[in-house]
């Protein structure tokens, strides 16, 4: 019962958040100066009125808002202003698989490498190896992805790959695109590196807690091997707090993807978003914002719900205290 109430509460907050997001987006877009039909050739009053009527712009603001809300519920965000005649949703859906694949690979890379380096750090707590691992983590958090992306693209994808092409007749990495492994490795690494650092620090803190527990001493006293202890006793308990960062991480991977997709010319959502901002394609900006928002809100909700099932000890309703 308590669980059910907790989930309902989270669900309602998520729905309200979504509604606030759509509302903010609508009114911000409405506040924009200018007229949507101003850019075209000089049009007569009659044509203008007909256009206004077609898009419902002659109606009062409240009606427009309700219409937008209703359309958004059905996934209809209107047509792109730049690619005329193309529905925003269609463009977004064609771009989504690229972003999803990029995000997923990065998350997997960051998760695996981060947990391993975090455990390594925790086992060597306080010595040189730990200091090196944690320093790399600090760099990962401090270097913005557009810097790392530009540098790696230049030094690995251009310099090193040209060198390997000349000497071995094999080009190691590609400069841009998203079709084969040579193209995918660097973007995934760039996007995952910052998250790797976050996961690694989180894992370390959590494992240090676990290492001090009595049951680990018991396991050691029973003569279990180091590997067995890590695998059977530490991993399950140590990994739990790491799950809490997955929600915020989805957000930073998405926004990081804007940059990475732009640098490596990957035709995903982020590239469309940045293009639409630079081209002032307002329906597209609004649609992308709402899609991103809903995705992140859903991700946070899932993490919240997953967490109570993984850790029954969590105190429901008192998470904010």
């Amino acid at each position: 019962m308590e669980t059910f109430r907790y989930i309902m509460k989270k669900l309602i907050i998520s729905l309200i958040t979504l509604w606030v997001l759509v509302t903010i987006t609508f009114f911000l877009m409405h506040m924009l100066p200018g007229d949507p039909f101003l850019g075209e050739k000089a049009i007569s009053e009659a044509t203008k009125e007909a256009l206004y009527a077609k898009y419902g712009l002659d109606k009062p603001l409240v009606i427009q808002y309700l219409t937008y809300l209703g359309n958004a519920l059905r996934g209809d965000f209107g047509e792109s202003l730049v690619y005329s005649g193309q529905p925003v949703m269609k463009i977004l859906m064609s771009a989504f698989p690229y972003s999803f694949e990029l995000g997923l690979y990065s998350l997997l890379f960051a998760g695996l490498a981060g947990i391993i380096s975090g455990i390594f750090s925790a086992l060597h707590n306080g010595d040189k190896k730990d200091a090196i691992a944690m320093f790399i983590a600090a760099i990962g958090i401090s270097v913005p992805s557009f810097i790392l992306g530009s540098l790696l693209q230049y030094y690995l994808a251009i310099k090193l790959s040209n060198w390997s092409a000349v000497h071995f007749g094999y080009q190691l990495f590609a400069v841009e695109g998203w079709e084969n492994a040579a193209q995918k490795i660097i973007p995934v690494f760039v996007l995952g590196f910052g998250e790797l650092a976050v996961i690694s620090r989180m894992t370390k803190a959590s494992f240090l807690d676990v290492i001090g527990q009595d049951y680990i001493k018991t396991a050691k006293a029973c003569g279990l091997s180091k590997f067995q202890i890590i695998k059977n006793h530490m991993l399950r308990n140590g990994i739990m707090p790491v799950i809490t960062v997955l929600g915020p991480m989805a957000a930073s991977i998405l926004t990081g993807a804007f940059v990475v997709e732009n640098i490596f010319n990957i035709p995903g959502l982020g590239k469309h978003f940045i293009n639409s901002i630079q081209a002032q394609d307002y329906t597209m900006i609004a649609g992308t914002t709402i899609l991103y928002g809903s995705f992140l809100i859903a991700a946070n909700l899932l993490v919240d719900i997953a967490y109570i099932f993984i850790d029954p000890g969590i105190k429901l309703g008192k998470k904010n205290a």
């Binding site: 958090i141 913005p144 901002i277 904010n320």
Partner: protein, 304 residues
């Protein structure tokens, strides 16, 4: 065995040395003592102070200005003709521009964080102090604002408002205060039940006096940690906005716009991007290490 007289020396009696009491130190003196022992903390603080002083002084004393173009000396390498970091594709001195950019980035970060601090402390303070229904409603509002992806809202605001320094600060402040509000509210909820606050209330202190005199000073440590944590985030947000073309506009330049601008000429003249990028990474690294150490010193329980 013989006992000579020399073996027995009379101990001079000093009443002072019997004193068991230590000189009492305040909370912040204690923090400072522990801070001084931490090499990483001192190192990062030194870098931050160096950067702040540099970005104030160097643009003033340098013979070049940030927007002065010299088309006869375009894309110069490092250490040529008095240009320590060379020049960019318009012949502008990179050394001055990088320090000036650091200044703009720091101004944006500090102002944004200061506004967050003010809103967050007031909001969180009221919510935590009043408690009950008010707290419940106010925190649900925070829940909603916190779930809206910050960067996306900041970007939306930047699309609508005219891009510029003040806009970036305002856009960041509209969504950035929630974290601080939560932290302050948690502290106030915890502190207001402690005996000394109850005593203060019994002695007739009003709400305002309790908040300012009793609660705020004790919540200060946690607030400082949170402040230090948000500064690198604000720097990053500014750089990110610059990257997608919503940053400060010419003739101003921030570290973010310098890196972005440098990426055009990057393949021919790597120093144009590498130097501002390096400045930015060092700044972020210093703030991150500083806030981490501060957190470990002030609140070891928060280490997660």
């Amino acid at each position: 065995m013989e006992f000579s007289k020399e073996l027995f020396v009379k101990e001079s009696y000093e009443p002072d040395s019997q004193d068991v009491e230590e000189k009492s130190i305040t909370y912040w003196q204690n923090v400072w003592i522990r801070f001084k022992r931490n090499k990483m903390a001192i190192g990062s603080l030194a870098i931050i102070i160096f950067m702040i002083l540099g970005c104030i002084i160097i643009p003033i004393v340098s013979p070049y200005t940030i927007s002065e173009q010299n088309l006869n000396a375009v894309n110069q390498g490092m250490f040529k003709d008095g240009h320590i970091f060379g020049t960019d594709s318009f012949g502008r001195d990179l050394f001055v521009r990088v320090w000036y950019g650091t200044r703009i980035s720091l101004i944006i970060a500090f102002s944004a964080v200061a506004i967050n601090l003010i809103i967050g402390v007031i909001y969180g303070g009221i919510s935590g102090y009043l408690g009950g229904k008010t707290d419940e409603v106010m925190m649900r509002i925070v829940d909603v604002v916190i779930s809206i992806p910050h960067l996306i809202i900041v970007m939306l605001l930047m699309v609508i408002l005219k891009p510029g320094m003040v806009t970036i600060i305002l856009a960041y402040a509209t969504v950035g205060w929630t974290g601080m509000a939560r932290v302050v509210r948690g502290q106030v909820l915890h502190l207001k039940e402690l005996d000394y606050v109850v005593a203060s209330r019994l002695l007739g202190s009003g709400a305002l006096r309790i908040i300012i005199k009793d609660l705020f000073p004790n919540a200060m440590g946690v607030i400082m940690v949170h402040l230090a944590l948000t500064i690198p985030r604000a720097i990053f947000t500014e750089a990110f906005l610059s990257y997608i073309g919503l940053g400060v506009q010419i003739p101003l330049a921030s570290l973010g716009t310098l890196v972005t601008g440098g990426s055009a000429a990057f393949r021919l003249y790597p120093h144009v991007i590498v130097i501002p990028a390096l400045f930015m990474c060092i700044l972020m690294l210093a703030f991150n290490v500083f806030s981490d150490s501060l957190r470990n010193i002030i609140d070891p329980k928060m280490r997660r």
